[in-house]
Structures are given as structure tokens and as C-alpha cells.
Amino acid sequence: MSDGDVMRATGVAVPGARGPLRCRGLLWSLALALPWVILLLAWVAVRSLSAKYAGLVPSPLAVLQRGSELLRDGELPLHWAASSLRVLVSVTAGVALSVPVGFALGWYVGARRVLTPMLNFFRALPPIALIPLMILYFGIGELAKALVLGYAAFFTAVVVLYEGISRIPPIYVQAARALGANDRELFSRVVLPLALPHVLTAARVALGVGWMTLVASELVSAQLGLGSMIQVAASYFQIETIYLGLITIGLTAMLMDFALVRLSNRLVRWQERIRP
């Protein structure tokens, strides 16, 4: 998809030099496909090493077949939707909550000094280790999973945010003050736009942590979700389904990250980046 974009973009941009640019687009798509091809080759190669390996590692084709089976009977979409929904809702909530806290910590040195030790304490607790407690207090329903996920997202995002906000160049604040900005105007018209890239970075990191935590919590307790699909498949020794679950998680996380990057490129077009 993105290699197609590259081809189209470069081809249109400089009509006079189409040949070499189209060539470059082709090279790009090859470069993008290469690591995946290597991965696939390694996968097949492992299977061909011995019969024992071939028994433990399903062939890509078998996984694909299982995928189309589960896609047709609607099981895979159901699990996928359950997991994606949990991640989206909980990570959004966690990041949303981290914004005011991150701002307070980034802006007020006093708050940062007082609260950083506690922040580090809670941040160090693996969310997965909280799952038993959460189940004890909130049952095995959606709430427990949402809390664990939100917890993971919040503490990940808050650190990214306050680090970013505490590094806002003071010159912009001074310039706005010298033009007459009061506290409210300074916040809404200078600090907020400068913080937006950090909010998006925080969301990206939290999304990654969210997927990790989600699957762990689904492994422990869930009837629906890619984690529980993997768990059930493991007890019936359906290795193809395990592979299918993992690949689905990876692809979904990849797509979500891609969407966020596109969004942030659009929103913070003004940022000076080091371009390749």
C-alpha cells in the first residue's frame, strides 16, 4: 500500500524524470518486501530442517488455510473485534487521563519532584502482575481487563508526555509572554500546540504496551479475544491457530501504528524533522 503511494507520489511530482523515478519506486517496494520474504523463507527453512520441527511449526499455507476457515465461520473477526475494541477504548482512556497529569508534571517542577518517585513505583509494576488482583476485585469481566490495560497505557503515556513537555523550549514561552499572553493564552495557544507531538508519541508507545498487556490479560481470563483464541488453541494443540492469532495481533498493531503516524504527520506538519 505504501509502496504504491511512493510510486504515485514520485511519478507525479517530477513528470520530466519519470523513468528513473519509477525505477526508484520499484526498488522501494522491493526493499519494503525484502525483510518479509526473508522471514517467510526462514520459516519454511526451519520446517525443512527435520520432521520434528515440521511437526511443531505449521506451514505458512496451513496457517493461511486456517485463517480463511476461521474468517468464513466468523470466529476470527469476532475475536479480532473484541481485542481491537478493548485496546482502542482502554488505551484512549489511559492516554486521555495521562494528558492533564503529564501536563501538570511537565509544567510544575514542584509537582514533578513530589510525584516522580510514586510514578516510578507504579510504573515498575508489570500490569500483568496486577491481573490476579483485578480479577479478585472486579471479576473476570470487561472491567478488570479495561483497568489493567488503562493502567498500562496511562503510566507509559504519562512519562513520555511529561518528559516532552518539560523540554518545551523556553524561548516560545518567553516570546508569548513578551507579546502579552496571560496564563490561559500561554497554555492554549503555545503549550498545547507544542505538546501535541508528544501526545501523539505517547499514544504510539501506549498502543504498543496496550497490545502486549491485552493479550496477557486475555490469556488469563476471556471467552472472546485473540489472546483467548490462542489460549484455547494451545490446549487443543492447534498450532496453526496460535500462529494465526499472533500474526493477526502483529498486523493489527502495525496498522494502528501506521494510522497514528499518518495522523501525526498531518497534525504536526510544522515540525522540523531530519528527513532521509
Binding site: 524561548i171 509572554r177 513578551a178
Partner: protein
């Protein structure tokens, strides 16, 4: 060129209007040699509409003086006043121009210039916002870049935006901390002429910090030479060239003589600063 609407609600001009006065100002920071004094007993008055340059060895405390006038720092003793009133905080009646521009990267050129005009502190000028923006876009030679983002502009262009943004809110005075220090020599000359013509149009009280002796001579009506740290006033020079000035000033024997004199005096203070730094290091 469009005529600029007169500043709405401007106070009747008094004798003090726009005057910046440093009254026996001293500043002390912790953890610095000489008992922490960076500025010692500086008294200086910038008359309304006067263009004063501060020159002196780097790190001598010039920027501290500018920060006091901007309201970004407080004197340990003494006081700084604008139009007779003590300066307590940054405010729109004192524009600040930084060496690193400080142009807001997320706003276009026009939006940068309009930024101050839409703040509640400058409500009086809000009605004329578009006219003011257009005026400064033209007089600064930025009209073709009105909708550009700063990251597409050169350093000189960015500093034009910063100047326009500062002038747009019609401050009584302008404080400039080596505004052209990061620019190449040619751009510097162009910017100096631009500043002279702006000053010709609307007389502000200007405090300019610079390393460049020729820049100080070309632009200012008075030059204050600062000593090595802690900063004291070492010498005050009245620049004899009448305004409006142009490059012909640079070829006069008087310019050459003053330039040579100031260079020697700055180097003396610079050498003293180096000695002091070695002793206290």
C-alpha cells in the same frame, strides 16, 4: 505601502513615555564568582525614542540587563522602570527579539504576526488586525511568504517575522538580544537597514545587545560599553551621526576612528574577563 492605523487608545505622550531607566541596579546569582554578582550598580536612562546599544565581552551580564528590562528577571537591588513605572513581569509594551528568533513553528508567517494582536492584552488593536498584518508583511518584505510555515524560511526571513511580530503590538520599547548574531554578513547588513527604516517610521526606545562594534555604531544614538563581569558601565559614547543614516556613514573617518577606539576598549574588557575567569576557575 498601506498606512498603519494609529494605535487605538494610546495614552497621551508624556515626557516619560517610553523611557527605560535602570536605577543603581545590581544582580546576584548563586554559584558564580565575585560573590555571585553579575551586574553591579548600573544606572542608565534610555530617553524615549533613543536607540542604545550595549556592547561588552560575552558573558559579562549584558543579557541579564535586557532580561531585567523585559521583566524576565528581577534585580537583587535597585529598580528598573518603564515610563516611570516599575517593571515586574513581561508585557506587550516591551517587545523582545531573540537571537534564536522564537518564531512559532506551528503558525504561518501571517499567523505569527497576528499572534500578539489576538491576545486579550492587546484587545485595542484587534479590530485593525488584518491591516496591521498586511502593513508589516509589506514593510518587512514578507508579503510573498504570508502563508508559509517558518521551517521553510531562511534565518533572515525568520528574524523578519520575529521583528514584525514584535512591532505589530506597538510596544513602547524594543529589547533585542543579538538579533542578527546568527545571520550571515550580507543578511545582517540588510536587516540593519530594515531596522533603521523601521525606527525612522515609528520611534521606539530600543535597547540592543550586540557583539559587533560596527553594528552598534551604525544603528544606535548611544553606545554603552560594559566592563568585564560583574557588569558595570565602563564608557558611554554618543554616536555623532544624524538619522536617517545609510551606508555612507560607514566610510566616514569619524566612523573608522570610533570603531577603532571601541574595538580596543572591548578587547581590553575581554582580556580582563579572561583573566578573571582563569583566576576564579
Amino acid at each position: 505601502m498601506t498606512r498603519l492605523p494609529p494605535p487605538a487608545g494610546s495614552a497621551p505622550a508624556s515626557a516619560l513615555d517610553g523611557e527605560i531607566r535602570f536605577n543603581d541596579v545590581s544582580v546576584r546569582y548563586d554559584g558564580i564568582p565575585h560573590g555571585g554578582w553579575v551586574v553591579r550598580n548600573v544606572s542608565l536612562t534610555l530617553r524615549p525614542g533613543e536607540f542604545v546599544s550595549l556592547i561588552g565581552p560575552s558573558g559579562c551580564g549584558k543579557t541579564t540587563l535586557l532580561k531585567l528590562a523585559a521583566g524576565m528577571a528581577r534585580p537583587t537591588s535597585g529598580s528598573v522602570t518603564l515610563s516611570g513605572r516599575p517593571i515586574a513581569a513581561p508585557g506587550p509594551e516591551r517587545g523582545v527579539v531573540f537571537q534564536e528568533y522564537g518564531v512559532f513553528p506551528w503558525l504561518t508567517v501571517r499567523e505569527n504576526i497576528a499572534f500578539g494582536l489576538s491576545l486579550s492584552a492587546n484587545r485595542a488593536r484587534l479590530a485593525d488586525r488584518d491591516a496591521i498584518c498586511t502593513h508589516y508583511l509589506q514593510s518587512m518584505g514578507l508579503a510573498d511568504f504570508a502563508d508559509a510555515l517558518p521551517n521553510t524560511l531562511s534565518g533572515g526571513m525568520r528574524q523578519r517575522v520575529a521583528l514584525a511580530r514584535a512591532y505589530a503590538v506597538n510596544p513602547r520599547s524594543l529589547l533585542m538580544d543579538e538579533p542578527f548574531g546568527a545571520l550571515d554578513a550580507q543578511t545582517r547588513l540588510v536587516m540593519q537597514d530594515l531596522l533603521l527604516s523601521l525606527q525612522q517610521e515609528e520611534r521606539k526606545t530600543v535597547l540592543l545587545i550586540t557583539h559587533a562594534v560596527d553594528e552598534a555604531l551604525y544603528l544606535s544614538s548611544r553606545i554603552v560599553l560594559m566592563s568585564a563581569r560583574p557588569a558595570r558601565i565602563a564608557e558611554v559614547i554618543d554616536v555623532p551621526f544624524p538619522y536617517p543614516r545609510d551606508e555612507r556613514v560607514l566610510e566616514t573617518p569619524e566612523f573608522t576612528r570610533l570603531q577603532a577606539h571601541l574595538r580596543v576598549r572591548v578587547m581590553e574588557e575581554y582580556a580582563r574577563q579572561q583573566r578573571e575567569d582563569r583566576i576564579t576557575a
